[in-house]
Every structure is written in C-alpha cells, then in structure tokens.
C-alpha cells in the first residue's frame, strides 16, 4: 500500500533537485549572473530529439502503467480465469530480443563509423521486428482457433475471458508502439542507405536503440504478468 507513496516521494525529490540545479532557487529580480556565465538556453546538453524521446517514454510508461493497474484491479473479480498461453509467444519474445541485439550492434557499428555494418544491423532489426509483429498476430489467431472457449460472443476469443481481453489489449498497445518504432526505423534505414554522412545517422540509431530496449522491457513485463504462475501470485496477494 505504501510503496506507491515512496515512489512518489523519490520522483518528487528527483524533480526538486533537478529544478534547484536549473536555478529555480535564485531571485530573478536581483540575479547577478551575466549572460556569459549561462552556458546556453538548453536545460540538457543533448540534442532536442533525445529529450523528446525521453518525454515520450514517460508518456508511454504512464500508458502501460495505467493499463497494468487496470489489469490488477480487474483481476480481483470472481470471474477471473488463468490465461491460456499460446506457445508462439516464446518465439516472438526471442524475435524481440534478437531485434534488440541487432539494434545494439548497429549502434556499435555507427560509433565505429562502419556504415556497412550499420545497414546490416538495421536490416536485421527490421526483419526481427516484423517477425515479432507477425508472430503476435499469429498468437491472436491461435487463441481464436484454440476452441477452449465455447459460446464466446461477438468478439470471439477476446471476450472469452477477462485475461484474454487484457492479452489482446496489451499486445495491441505494445504492437502499436512497435509499429511507431518501425516508422522511425524506416526513416533511419533509408537515411543510412542513401548517405554515408554518419553524424545524423548515429543520432537516429542511438534513439532507435533506446526505444527498442524500452519496447523489449515493456514486453517482458507484460509477458511476465500474463504467465499463469505470476498472475495467480498477484491475484492471491490482492485478494488476501
């Protein structure tokens, strides 16, 4: 019960310290600092796109965290049944791990200025990520075809049990974020193919690497929550 409050205090403390470092404690009406001593207008010494990605990840985290909260609350109802796990999910997870590895190898190559290897890495990322999405879609099909749930309504497997509904919701939300990532991956890849000017490619690849690591982490959390043993453990704790 108290842990969210601790987390809140930590967040507040971090924000507070950051604001102090940003001169939010000075008296601007008597401030003596010259223009020269202010390094530049920016709050972070990184490209704006990196800050933008950071803010976006905060938004996405808010979205996934709230969805997971909803999952926990819905779990407490009497009609909860354990999720029947389509086996293809393990293969998909492997694909996402591979895409993350490929992304990191592309980043390493970009740092070493090896454009050929960057292109190779990016191609592998695209291949694995598309394979992941196709695999997720296949998992939806598997659930629909599994026949575990007779008499499902208009929605088929998605409405067959609350855990199923959340599985579709989780995978759809996560999949949409993968698709969004692929949009930027496409831009980065086409740039890497068209030019050999590495400075801009390097930044794009770095941003994609952070995003792919984020996609992997979110997927691992969502997957873990769906694993029957974990979901039963959570449910037991909430009901106790």
């Amino acid at each position: 019960m108290l842990s969210p409050l601790y987390l809140l205090f930590v967040i507040v403390a971090v924000v507070f310290i950051w604001l102090l470092r940003q001169t939010v404690d000075v008296k601007p009406w008597v401030e003596q600092r010259s223009v020269e001593s202010v390094p530049s207008g920016a709050s972070f010494q990184v490209p704006a796109a990196k800050v933008g990605l950071g803010v976006f990840l905060a938004v996405a985290t808010s979205l996934f965290a709230l969805t997971v909260c909803a999952y926990f609350i819905r779990m407490m109802a009497g009609d909860w049944r354990t999720f029947v796990f389509p086996s293809v999910l393990w293969l998909n997870t492997g694909m996402l791990v591979l895409s993350d590895v490929a992304m990191r190898s592309a980043r390493a190559a970009a740092r070493r200025s090896e454009i050929e290897r960057v292109r190779l890495g990016l191609a592998a990322v695209g291949l694995c990520s598309f394979a992941f999405l196709v695999g997720q879609f296949w998992a939806w099909q598997q659930l629909n075809a599994s026949g575990f749930f007779g008499g499902a309504g208009a929605g088929g497997a998605i409405a067959a049990s609350p855990a199923n509904s959340f599985f579709y919701l989780f995978t759809a939300l996560h999949g949409a974020h993968v698709l969004g990532g692929l949009w930027f991956w496409a831009a980065t890849t086409s740039r890497a193919w068209r030019s050999t000017e590495l400075a801009r490619i390097r930044t794009s690849v770095e941003l994609c690497t952070v995003y792919w690591r984020y996609l992997l982490l979110v997927w691992l959390v969502l997957l873990a929550l769906l694993v029957p043993a974990v979901s039963e453990l959570c449910r037991g704790r909430f009901l106790a």
Binding site: L8, V12, V15, L19, Q22, T23, V24, D25, V26, K27, P28, W29, V30, E31, Q32, R33, S34, V35, E36, V38, S40, G41, A42, S43, F44, A48, A49, V51, G52, V55, F56, A58, V59, S62, L63, L66, T67, A70, I73, R74, A77, G78, D79, W80, G153, A154, G155, G156, I158, A159, P162, S165, Y168, L169, L173
Partner: protein, 590 residues
C-alpha cells in the same frame, strides 16, 4: 517597489546561439494550410477550438431553454436534452479549453516568449493540429449518425454509456471514444513539442527563472496532460472494446428486459478511477495556463513586477504535482474505504494552500500598482473574482460529509463552472485582447471590448451564483424535468428562468466579441510593435505580426526577468527582457 541591482560590469558581449534550420514553404498550401510555423498552427488551433466551442455554447443555450422554460420547446425531448448536456461538457472541457490554451496559446506564445525561432519538431506540430481537426470532425460526425451523439454525460460512465436505452449508445458513443483517442494522439505530438521546446530551445540568458509565468503555466499543464491523458486513452480503448467486441473490462453481469447480456464480471468503478485520474489533472491542465496568463496580464497592466515570482512558480509546480493524488474526490458517492475518503479529502484541501498563495500574490501585485483598466486587465481582475468564488465552493465539496448531500446537485455545476469554465474563459478573452495586437498588428476595439467584458462578467455571476442556492435546495443536475420532485419549492423555477435569461444574454454578447475580432482585423487601429509597453520577448520582435522565424537575423539575448516594470531610476516604466544594462548596450543583438 523592487530595487533591481544588476551588476552592469558583469555583462560581456554574448556568444551566438546555435541557429536552427527552418522550413520555408513557397506555396499558399505550405504557408497557410499545412503550415509548420508554430504561430500559424496556434491560430489554426484557436480558430478550430473556437468554432467547436460555439457549438458547445449553443448546446448550453438549448439546455437552459429547457430548464428555464420546461416543455415550451417541442424540439427538446429527454433524449436530445441528455445529448446536449453530454456534448456541451465534452466539447467545452476537451475540445475548446484544452486545445485553446495548449494548442492555441501554447503554439503562438512559447517560441516567441522564450526567444526561439519555432517549435523543435515542426512537422509533428503540424500533424498535431490535423489530428485535432480530425478528432473534432469525428465528434461532429456523431451528431449526424443514427441515434445521434452519446447522451451518457461527459464522464461517459459505464455501464449506462454503452447500454441500449442511453441516447447515442449505438454509433454516438463509438465515434466519441474514437474522437477522444485521436485527440489524445494528436495532443501528445503537440505536447512533446511544447515541453521539449521550453526545455531545450530557450534563447541565451533565458534561465527557467526568467521565463514569463505564462510559459510556466503552459509548460506544467502540458506535463500534466502528457501524463494524465493516457488514462483517458486506455479507458476509451477498453470501453470501445466493451461496446464493440463484448469484452467485460467495465461491464458487470446485466439483465436487460429479462435477457442476460453477454457481459459479466467487469468493474464500472475501475472506469471511474481511470477517468478521474485523467479528469482531475484536466482541471489544472485548463487552470494552470490561465493562472500564468492572468499573472502576466495583471503585472503588465498594473505596471508592477509580479508579487512573489518564485512563490508563483513553486505554486504552479506543487499544484501540478498534487493534482495527481486527488482524483477520487470525484467519487465520494461511488463508495470507498473511509480511509481513502480521508486521504483524498486531505490532499484536496491541501491544494487550497498554493492556490490561495497565487490569489494573494495577484491581489498584492495590484496593490498600489499603476492599474490601467484596459480590457485585458478587466478580464484578468474578473478572473480573480470568479476564481476565488469557485475555489471557495471547492473547499465545501472537498469534504466528504458536505460533498455527499451536494453531489449531483446544481451546487456542483455552479462550482465547476465558476472555477474551470468561466474563470479560464475570462483569462482566454483577456489573453486575446492582450495578444491580438501582436497576432494581427491591429488593436481590438475597446468600447466593444468593455461591453463584452461587463455583460460576460456580470452575466456569468447571474448564471452561476444563484445555482448554488438551487443546489442547496436539492435541484439535481442533468434532469430534464423537475415535475416529479415534490421536495423542490416552486420558487426554484423562477430562479431557473432568471438563470436562463442571463445565460442567453451572455451567449449573445459573445457574437459581439466575434464581430470585434473580424471588424478590428480590417478596421482596427494600428497597434505598433508593443502597444502595452510590455517587457516580454514577443513584444520585441522586429515585425508585427512576427514573420516566420520570429526574430529576424539574430535571436534576442535575455538580460533580465520578465517583470521589470516601474524600476526606480529607469527611463521608462518597463525594461524589455532583451535590453542590456546601460554599460553593455553595444553587446546587444536583440
């Protein structure tokens, strides 16, 4: 009066700020339709929000016609009455106020006020507007589908929102949910821009503590919106699945006309939690920009530095933080653990402290100021009155034992209209009268402006003040007819008729405002670059209206905070932020 003790010898010629690449379109479509210039996007946002806001205003008149003169108008029936109530609320809160303050004022003012050429991600900024327009069109489309728009109340509570019997439960609710989702995706694109631009694109010398409070308000409100809207997004998605694919996220087991529905086990209270986790920060998403703009209007038109600038900044941040841990005060009547009620009542009442600090600071800024009763100033002072009024009733409703009997009465309607409808709208008008000269190069007509202010301000009191009494009498909100409620005295009807007449008058005078905006564009007095003799950077541009890129060849350099008004010993009663101290005049590029 504050003595400004700048050390003049400390200034040296500043270094250049890194220049950004700007997109320079040459076609009409590139410049005015798919524009990437934040100023033009701001105008697009503002006009679209105002257009849909007029629909919201019209709907409120239809509501008032029925309440003031029951059954006198045959085209209003119980079903479309509920649809008017719902659409009025949704349009005003989300599509008018949020879009106007963040999309409109945010886009126009942020780059100009912080000394940037444009937003940092212009293409995404453009997409943000087009998605907003799409969201508005989808919402408008719901008026024309079979069954009409949803009539479930702006909170869209399940299960009623998607059950047959509720107006618009067919296509209306589906389109509304889709429209909200599109709005949120679009807003996120814009919001990323506002936040990152404020963080990364400030001109040299513009530290956070030199930002005008308008920017602080919009910046903090955007952060709230970015973190709160996902709750509405995911709940809209889940309800959409409940409605279209028979999932049971929110829908409990139900028997309708003797038939068991497909639903079972869902949790309607879960929706309320998610909705209000968004819904309460939403109040401050609207209020914080209004706080910021009001502060700047009051300081500029009272020719005085804002009182307690640091306190104002910290208050904005603290209000923003607290707004995330008060949401369940909207759910006291939904049933909750008493300790939860205690917790949320306490956090709610704590918000009164930073809010009251802000009010005191506005009043202390006015105290012994050289007050110019210009139209923007009238609206800003009007805002302080209305906001205090609405804030005080918030203290009533924040307490569980007071809230429970007053819930679902017109007292609540009076409270939230005062605090988050009329108050921000007054600031919005003040803002338009203040910045219109910069946007168009022409002054808005002052006589029309004053008529507009007085009728709107007095009218708003005539509409919402008596509503508190009706609330005490137990008059419920959202009811089409009160005939069957024998507990309500007949005199309540007289008051209801009075409210309706006032509401129609206030609505009519808004046409004068629109006329003024159009008339002054062609016939208004030329404004010059800085008609209010203000200090902030948007008034120091080389051209009015500012051209693409805002600041000509060189970005301004900021030497001081935004409130150097009536500085003792200064030549004029204002010193622009980019004016170097006397000894360093040669160093200025501004």
């Amino acid at each position: 009066m504050v003595a400004v003790a700048h050390d003049e010898s400390a200034y040296a010629p500043p270094a250049e700020v890194e220049e950004v690449e700007l997109h320079h379109p040459h076609t009409f479509i590139g410049k005015y339709v798919f524009s990437q210039d934040a100023k033009w996007i701001g105008i697009q946002y503002g006009v679209t929000a105002l257009a849909i806001g007029l629909v919201g205003l019209l709907l409120s008149d239809l509501i008032r016609l029925q309440l003031g003169f029951p059954n006198a108008f045959s085209f209003i029936n119980p079903s479309n009455y509920l649809q008017f109530v719902t659409m009025h609320g949704l349009i005003m809160v989300v599509y008018l106020l949020t879009a106007l303050f963040l999309g409109g004022f945010g886009n126009y003012l942020i780059p100009l006020m912080i000394g940037a050429r444009d937003m940092v991600f212009p293409i995404m900024n453009m997409l943000s507007y087009w998605l907003f327009l799409l969201a508005v069109l989808i919402l408008v489309a719901s008026f024309f589908v079979a069954g009409g728009p949803t009539g479930s109340g702006w909170t869209l509570y399940p299960p009623t929102a998607i059950l047959p019997g509720t107006p618009g439960s067919n296509w209306g609710i589906i389109l509304t949910l889709i429209s909200l989702a599109v709005f949120i995706i679009g807003f996120t694109m814009g919001g990323l821009n506002y936040v990152v631009t404020v963080l990364q694109a400030r001109t040299r010398g513009m530290t956070l503590m030199r930002l005008p409070l308008t920017v602080w308000g919009i910046f903090t409100a955007t952060l709230l919106a970015l973190l709160a809207f996902p709750a509405l997004f995911v709940s809209a998605l889940m309800m959409l699945l409940d409605r279209t694919l028979d999932t049971s996220f929110f829908m409990p087991a139900l028997v309708l006309k003797g038939q068991h529905l497909e639903y079972g086990g869902g949790n309607p209270i879960l929706f309320q939690h998610l909705f209000w986790y968004f819904g309460h920060p939403e109040v401050y998403i609207v209020a914080l920009p209004a706080f910021g703009i009001a502060s700047d209007l009051i300081a500029t038109h009272a020719r005085k530095s804002i009182f307690g600038y640091r306190m104002m900044v910290w208050a904005i941040l603290i209000i923003g933080g607290l707004s995330f841990i008060v949401w369940a005060h909207h759910m006291f009547v939904s049933g909750m653990n008493v300790y939860f009620g205690f917790f949320f009542a306490t956090t709610t009442l704590i918000i009164a402290i930073p809010t009251a600090l802000k009010v005191y600071n506005w009043v202390l800024t006015l105290w012994r100021g050289n007050i110019h009763f210009t139209v923007p100033m009238l609206f800003a002072i009007g805002f302080v009155f209305i906001f205090v009024n609405g804030g005080l009733t918030g203290l009533y409703l924040g307490n569980v034992p007071v809230d429970v009997p007053l819930s679902h009465t017109l007292f609540v309607v009076a409270h939230f209209h005062m605090v988050m409808a009329v108050a921000p709208v007054l600031v919005f008008f003040g803002g338009i009268y203040h910045w219109y000269p910069k946007i168009t190069g022409k002054m808005l007509d002052e006589t029309m402006g004053k008529i507009h202010f007085w009728i709107t301000f007095v009218g708003a009191y005539c509409v919402f003040f008596p509503m508190h009494y009706l609330g005490f009498l137990g008059v419920p909100r959202r009811y089409y007819a009160m005939d069957a409620l024998r507990t309500i005295p007949e005199s309540a009807q007289g008051l209801n008729a009075e409210i309706s007449i006032a509401a129609l008058t206030v609505a009519t005078v808004q046409l004068l405002f629109i006329f003024n905006v159009i008339w002054s564009y062609f016939k208004g007095k030329p404004a010059g670059g800085n008609p209010w003799r203000a200090t902030t950077l948007e008034w120091q541009t080389a051209h009015t209206p500012p051209e693409h890129g805002n600041f000509g060849e060189h970005l301004p350099v900021v030497y001081r905070w935004a409130y150097d008004y009536s500085v003792p010993g200064a030549k004029e009663d204002f010193i622009p932020q980019n004016q170097p101290p006397a000894g360093a005049a040669a160093a200025s590029h501004g």
